[in-house]
Symmetry: C2
DNA sequence: TTGATATTCAACTTTTTGGTTGAATAAAAT
DNA sequence: ATTTTATTCAACCAAAAAGTTGAATATCAA
């Protein structure tokens, strides 16, 4: 496999499942327990817990221990890396050297 | 499964494989044949061809028949849907009602 | 025409993913 | 103290994904 950038890959993998995206969408309205997340999804608690684990590994959520419940909160994780990838790719159509391209190139020179 | 928006899902799935992302990245520098795409990836022609098929189904590339070669060109596909999802999600952190949020809400009212 | 090249197809294997169930753990409620 | 509730763990299963090889197809070059 290719695997040059592991955290970007983890982010894209985490986002590639519709159930997980639905969970993230649901959390946009506020923190929720595993149970509350599982309820509208017609899958077991265990399956939900696994999905949450994947999102947590990708730092897209944080699990807070609260008594016997776990409260899930959104977290940025490396969302911006995924956004940057898409923006850079989309820049292909808006001309090779527009504002975004130059901005991203400058970023590269600073960060890498 | 959840599966509320199939084209968004297809796009995210297509983008979730590092080999396919590498192919898309490679095509940013210009159109390439299957062979040229396969070469740096250490996978067979057949595997490359399959990946290309997935990207083509997601309309992220177009395959042009040129004699015995197939030339792959980038295509926008539903890239903007994926971008919109990420932007909307990222908007969670930049405050509930900033410019992007309102823009997206207006878009919803028009399109859906 | 013959042979080489580029790609795809078909059949198959391996690995990964998403799901299940039932037992284990831990906290809350009775 | 016992029971109920919330979640996780472990073992397992089925389907999907990613890869392989070898034959088929089509085009180009000798």
């Amino acid at each position: 496999m290719v695997e040059y950038n592991d955290t970007l890959n983890q982010t894209f993998k985490a986002l590639s499942d519709p159930t997980r995206r639905a969970m993230l969408e649901s959390l946009r309205t506020g923190p929720k327990t595993i149970g509350a997340l599982a309820e509208p999804l017609a899958i077991s608690f265990a399956a939900t817990s696994k999905h949450i684990g994947i999102l947590e590994d990708a730092a897209l959520i944080r699990r807070e221990k609260r008594g016997r419940e776990r409260i899930c909160h959104l977290q940025r994780g490396q969302l911006d890396e995924a956004q940057a990838w898409l923006d850079r790719h989309a820049a292909f159509w808006s001309g090779a050297l527009d504002a975004l391209e130059t901005a991203l190139k400058e970023e590269d020179e600073r960060d890498e």
